[in-house]
């Protein structure tokens, strides 16, 4: 018991890797064993996270449950883990969504061992980013998480679809999407890598709290240039890397393809957690390391956020592909996160900033739930119909009332219906940013209007209107959502509702963390 509480973060972080190794040793034909082992193993980090949550003391400054091991001492990097209220929320999201994603993947039959192992490795990659207190470790896990997702996308992604790259050369859509995803993200991280190297060289440490103190108080010249210039460049290097991930307009173009072509569970984690890595990077690194630059360029960040909100919503509205619609909705929803962050950048320490940040972090958690839910529901439909084209559906509600109900519920969460989680976070962001970034917030409302439009359009195309006879009978008869699928959605729906009507349990943790950090 001692051992567990002393090493709880390491256990949560590395048990998925151990599980992946175990899964790889199972016989490849025993699909049941593989699936249940993977699922069971993924529940252990979740249970540990609940224990962690229960023992966490909100309001205590600094990191808790810290663990530090010598790692790369030659360059002054240690393997340093820790959580505060911000990262704990994200760890909870990750360890919650991974088992659900694995359960959602029980219908995969192709190379199940490799698939499950990659998911487990992905979980470690994502958790590592959230738990890292050492900048180099942060970067290690940031990049590491890309690899399993790359392979999940191009090996188990949608088989149909082609993209033309140039001069009539066509590649499979999933190959295009996965390569674009990894190269775009890695390319964006190059600036981050270079800036991290510079920080390490300048301060001989990668410890985040130390760096935040020393970097912000550095004066004079660096590399023969004024410190302010170097910091401004480094700021944008950090911002671009994270902006690509969030994603922030105009660096979002990898997302629609990636989310659409990824396998269902891949999209669940991609939208559910991986996008949050970018937002987390803003909160954990950009704001603390570059308070002056963040404040100076807050308007630019707010502008980009609002573009994401508005264009994301418009683009969503214009989609015919259900999955692509949900993909663009992620751009739209993550825009609110960045708007909240921009508010905190512009007016640090104020009540408005605190409210906006509460909203931003809660939106990160909420969007994780609703996006994962939406992508799963898209997958449920796709598995039965093998199409995602909205025009192919119509009036399906009487055929699949339970699915329909769940879809409407989750869509309402995505739409921000009061009483469900989305409303709370979006309201907090808007309330916080209105006094600070009024014009931007006003324009964002336009996006919010279209959010309603695209959600309702999607629902109408699928569930309402005249029944599309194609799915009514015969071999294309649409089957209702099954028990396993309902179990995947249930925790998400419960949390969506609870946070909608009683957000205090999570806002308490977030609020205390935000007040301490910013």
């Amino acid at each position: 018991m001692e051992f567990i509480s002393n090493h709880i973060l390491t256990l949560i972080l590395f048990l998925p890797v151990l599980a992946a190794v175990v899964v790889l040793c199972l016989p490849k034909d025993n699909l049941k064993a593989i699936r249940w082992t993977a699922l069971g193993a993924s529940l252990i980090p979740f249970v540990l996270t609940i224990i962690l949550w229960a023992q966490f003391k909100p309001g205590q400054p600094g990191y808790q449950f810290e663990q530090q091991y010598a790692w790369y001492s030659a360059i002054h990097s240690t393997f340093h883990l820790g959580v505060d209220g911000l990262s704990l929320t994200m760890v909870l999201l990750t360890t919650l969504l991974t088992p659900l994603a694995l359960l959602a993947s029980f219908s995969i039959t192709d190379r199940v061992k490799a698939y499950m192992s990659l998911f487990l490795l992905l979980e470690t990659g994502m958790l590592g980013v959230f738990m890292a207190v050492d900048l180099l470790i942060f970067f290690v896990f940031w990049e590491v998480g890309l690899v399993p997702m790359y392979f999940l996308m191009n090996q188990w992604g949608s088989e149909k679809g082609e993209r033309e790259i140039w001069k009539g050369v066509k590649v499979q859509a999933r190959n295009y999407a996965s390569l674009k995803f990894i190269i775009y993200t890695m390319g964006g991280s190059l600036g981050l890598l270079l800036a991290i190297q510079l920080l390490g060289v300048t301060f001989q440490t990668y410890d985040l709290p130390t760096l935040a103190r020393q970097w912000t108080t550095l004066e004079g010249t660096l590399l023969g240039l004024p410190v302010a210039t170097v910091k401004a460049v480094a700021f944008w290097a950090f911002v671009i890397a994270f902006a690509i991930k969030v994603p922030v307009w105009p660096f979002h173009t990898w997302l629609p393809d990636a989310h659409t072509e990824a396998p269902t569970a891949g999209s669940m984690l991609l939208a559910g957690v991986m996008l949050k890595l970018g937002a987390y990077g803003f909160l954990r690194l950009v704001l603390p390391l570059y308070p002056a630059e963040s404040s100076k360029y807050a308007g630019a960040l707010a502008f980009l956020a609002v573009m994401a909100i508005v264009f994301g919503a418009f683009a969503s509205y214009g989609q015919k592909d259900f999955k692509r619609l949900v993909a663009y909705s992620s751009v739209n929803h993550m825009g609110f996160v960045l708007l909240g962050i921009a508010t905190a950048a512009k007016a640090p320490g104020t009540l408005d900033a605190t409210i906006a940040l509460n909203g931003a972090v809660l939106q990160m958690f909420n969007h994780g739930l609703s996006a994962a839910g939406m992508f799963f529901l898209v997958g449920v439909l796709y598995e039965r119909t093998h199409t995602r084209n909205l025009d192919d559906f119509g009036g399906l509600f009487p055929l699949v009332p339970i699915y329909g109900g769940i879809l409407i519920f989750t869509s309402m969460a995505s739409l921000g219906l009061p009483g469900l989680n989305g409303f709370v976070s979006e309201f907090l962001v808007v309330r916080g940013s209105w006094p600070v970034l009024t014009i931007y917030t006003a324009i964002a409302m336009l996006g919010l209007l279209f959010t309603g439009a695209y959600i309702l359009k999607g629902l109408r195309s699928i569930l309402h209107g005249p029944l599309n006879e194609h799915w009514a009978k015969g071999k294309h008869k649409l089957t209702e959502i099954n028990t396993r699928e309902i179990i995947v959605m249930a925790p998400l729906m419960v949390l969506i509702l609870i946070i909608g009507i009683w957000p205090a349990w999570i806002l308490e943790v977030i609020n205390k963390a935000v007040m301490i950090l910013f």
Binding site: W71, A74, V140, V144, L190
Partner: protein, 490 residues
Amino acid sequence: MQFPFLGVIVFTPLVAALVILMYKPEWKKAIRWTALAAGLFALALSIWVYFTYDKAAAGYQFIEKYNWMPMLGISLHFGVDGMSVPLVLLTGVVMVTGVMISWGIEDRPREFFAFLFILASGVFGVFASLDLFMLFFFYEIAVFPMYLLIAIWGWIKTREYAAMKLTLYLFIGSMVSLVGALVMYWTSGQHTFDMLVLETVKFTPAFQKIWFLPVFLGFAVLGGIFPFHNWSPDGHVAAPTAVSMFHAGVLMKLGAFAALRVGIMLLPEGAKFWAPLIMGLALINIVYGAFIASVQTDFKYVIGFSSVSHMGLVMMGFATLKPEGLLGAGVQMFSHGVMTALFFAVVGMVYDRAHTRDIPKLGGMIKPLPLAGIGLIIGSLVSMGMPGFSGFVAEFPIFMGIWKTQWIVAVIAAVSIVVTASYVLLVVRRVFFGKMPEEFEGHITPIRTHDKIALVLLMALMIGIGWFPSLMVPWVQTGVQHILALLGGA
């Protein structure tokens, strides 16, 4: 007296070669197993030397000195420090995996393994040499068998051209360095080739500025420095698989290492003077190598040029003359050596079965060759510097060293990371995934046990060092301290 570990390691392959040459050509099994036994023995000893090296004491250890020509100051003088002990280990690893990968050679395996082992002795000898003359002696022993190995067992289309080009380039390079070394011998006034003594000799700054460049570049030719890298891609491609593994895996490190030992460590003032030029050339290696690799259609040429790019990182690390840069270069020599041995092993496996290396013609290899595919994926991740693998552990400090020297170079060099990532991922996808062309259906036999062992060993090393840098970094650091002392003191 202490057991002569290094002497035994250096001469085991040579002795094994002589033994193998005495076998009848038909005794293929005996030939292979003797080769493997010798390789395992050398590897075991090098592992022992590696783990019993006293990092706290640092400096040169396992020293053996046997006078050979005392009038000329030449002795058979062995010793390893923190920089060379990983390379001795690397050679042992490449030797064993090279033998395993060459298990299926049917055409004159006796001569093949004999020449390969003469080469191996030469390589061990250079890494372990503390006598300048013997360093050259072993260097030539390492280069000459390359000619035979490539010309006889290589790819029929280009083997004679490639073998001749490689040998001429490398001999001329070493001649240039030899001239420099002889001048150092005469000028030192000590009448000795003992490198430990020569390290203490303070050559005049003017002397060093003149002679550093020929000495460094002469050896760096073998390291693949631009613009003298041209022998390498053709040499890689024409060589049979195990020879390519040795070539890129160890031989190129020989060049870089000798450039370090003889150039930088014996002529530190010259090194400081010429460092910017070396950095510039290395930068061209890194970026140009990556771009050229990305347009190749022959699988082996991709890896050949990728080696040019990665060796650029090694020489860049040296040229920074900073602790981090030197550290990274030391780790990169090992990491890249293992990675490239893996790459060539996989290429060889594909080529032996598909009889083509033309990427557009390949595809779908993951199904019949899953472990080879995973090996290639791991190798690719190492090659793009993905954290979690040894490539990142090596490249990161190199970049830190560059930042300390000339920041713009770091920014330009970083471009190569993305270029490498894109071409390497595309090659993996095109060769191993997608649809297998019909002509290969049923012809791609699975890899054998010895192939699997080789692949797993190589992957384990790269992942191990990636997550536990402390498995190699402390050793290299002691070597780096010594180099810095020479640079600082001079």
